[in-house]
């Protein structure tokens, strides 16, 4: 590693893309997230791992306020995106979600054409002035999602007719089309076969050039493969957060060690 890269890295470490401070989440009386502090870096893949019900998905959904749609969820603490509090009353979650895109566990394309799926976001956000611009956005989003070559001849075919892996890439393209800065992925490969999973992981690695990615995964191997930073959640606590290689070869916390070696579920 040369000095320049080191310097760039240090600077990036100083200026996190998302910075959570003392975040607590309650579902009615259930304390789901307990005082979590974490800094998520730009142009980095950050993986959230942990046993089921440890709060990793909940915390992920706090980052674009998807928890707002759940009546009983309550969040305390502060989450800053580029230094701005996303839970400020002045922030419209709709605007936030255009900046912080999300890809879900099960591929969930709209039951519309491939083109309509990708163009929906840009259309409702008024990102294109005319049809040509819209087509351009759709093509670039599909290219980014490594799907263009597979679907360019059938953009008007229904998105639900694609294979599972293609559908998930379509969902990624749809998220990318709104030009977000952060992409949240909630177990994006759990419904996919190993080859499709590998393709998505490769895609995630490429997307890292332009976005800050946060991925929740049940598969420790997946976290190991795709991420540069890993956060281990357990019972609502952020137990350990650090360099992925470090976490997987020499974790600091005994609970992390127990989890990644398969000693606690």
């Amino acid at each position: 590693m040369n000095d320049l890269a080191l310097a760039a890295k240090t600077e990036a470490a100083l200026k996190p893309k998302i910075s959570a401070k003392g975040v607590d989440v309650y579902y009615a009386d259930n304390h789901a997230i307990k005082n979590v502090d974490v800094n998520i870096l730009d142009k980095t893949v950050t993986a959230f791992i942990g046993p089921s019900g440890c709060g990793k998905s909940t915390f992920l959904r706090c980052l674009n306020r998807m928890n707002d749609t759940i009546d009983i969820a309550r969040i305390e603490g502060e989450i800053l995106l580029d230094g701005e509090d996303i839970y400020d009353p002045k922030v419209d979650p709709v605007q936030l979600r255009a900046k912080v895109g999300m890809v879900f566990q099960k591929p969930n394309p709209f039951p519309k054409s491939i083109f309509d799926n990708v163009s929906y976001g840009p259309r409702i956000h008024g990102m294109a002035r005319n049809k040509a611009e819209l087509e351009e956005i759709v093509e670039s989003a599909l290219r980014r999602a490594a799907l263009w070559d597979e679907v360019k001849d059938r953009l008007l075919a229904p998105g639900t007719g694609l294979s599972g892996g293609q559908q998930q890439r379509l969902c990624i393209a749809r998220a990318v089309a709104t030009a977000p800065e952060v992409l949240l992925m909630d177990e994006p490969c759990s419904a996919l076969d190993p080859i499709a999973t590998a393709q998505i992981e490769e895609l995630i690695d490429e997307l890292r050039q332009n976005y800050s990615l946060v991925i929740v995964t049940h598969s420790m191997q997946q976290a190991a493969r795709v991420s540069q930073k890993t956060a281990f959640f357990h019972l609502g606590n952020l137990v350990e957060y650090g360099e992925t290689g470090h976490i997987f070869t020499n974790p600091e916390d005994s609970r992390t060690e127990a989890y990644i070696t398969g000693r606690i579920g």
């Binding site: 590998a198 493969r225 992925t244």
Partner: protein, 239 residues
């Protein structure tokens, strides 16, 4: 390795780790070469350089092991990928030993410089070292090209090194019996020869790793053993 992994980062990691092996191999080759030259030329300065360079080899070995551990932890390699990583670990340890022998040779050179020269011994040792360095070069080529035949060839050539060592062993015995003042330098020279012979053994081991890497099986133990000294009843068990 015709096909690429879907995850290109995996390919990069595998390539990186093997590139480190090649770099290490090159350093060890140079160390053997330089150490031998320092012995022949009685060049104390060069010997000192070789000794200093060994710490770099050791550091590289550590780096390779760390990278291999990381690769296993993060990528869960299987089949040929797993063999690649396993052989990388073993080969790096073999190379590290070879580096140590070269360093030892350089160390003894510094001592030998102070003593009488033994006629022809340095040249014999240089011949032997050349042979070993050639084997190292070939085995590294075999490793890069996944060439089983070349690896098998290297493995067989160890026999010649063993025979050279046997010849030297008798030569040193003769020198020592002729004149007891030669004993110290002959002992040193004998250790050098022995170390070069051991280097050959490690290279053979690397060749076996190459065969395992490609075929998934270790070659059967049918290699001709040239070092008979340990079986000579007159000499007794040396090792």
């Amino acid at each position: 390795m015709n096909e690429h992994h879907i995850q290109s980062a995996f390919d990069r990691d595998l390539e990186d780790i093997q590139a480190m092996i090649m770099k290490m191999g090159g350093m060890v080759e140079a160390a053997i070469h330089d150490a031998t030259r320092s012995l022949v030329k009685r060049d104390e300065e060069l010997a000192a350089q070789v000794r200093a360079a060994d710490s770099q080899i050791d550091a590289l070995e550590e780096e390779i092991n760390e990278a291999a551990a990381r690769l296993i932890a993060l990528r869960a390699p299987a089949a040929s990928d797993l063999r690649t990583v396993l052989t990388v670990i073993k080969v790096s340890s073999n190379l590290e030993r070879c580096g140590d022998y070269a360093k030892n040779l350089a160390k003894r050179t510094s001592v030998l410089v102070q003593m009488n020269t033994i006629e022809g011994a340095a040249k014999s040792i240089r011949r032997m070292a050349r042979e070993v360095a050639g084997m190292l070069k070939d085995v590294l080529d075999a490793y890069v090209q996944r060439d089983v035949e070349l690896a098998e060839d290297v493995r067989m050539r160890d026999h010649e090194v063993d025979q050279m060592y046997n010849a030297l062993f008798r030569e040193f015995l003769t020198h020592m019996m002729e004149d007891p003042r030669n004993i110290t330098s002959c002992m040193h020279l004998h250790f050098i020869a022995k170390n070069i012979e051991r280097t050959g053994d490690h290279i053979t081991s690397i060749a076996e790793q190459v065969i395992y890497l490609v075929t998934g099986e270790y070659p059967e133990e049918s290699r001709p053993k040239g070092d008979r000294t340990s079986f000579d009843p007159k000499v007794g068990g040396s090792e």
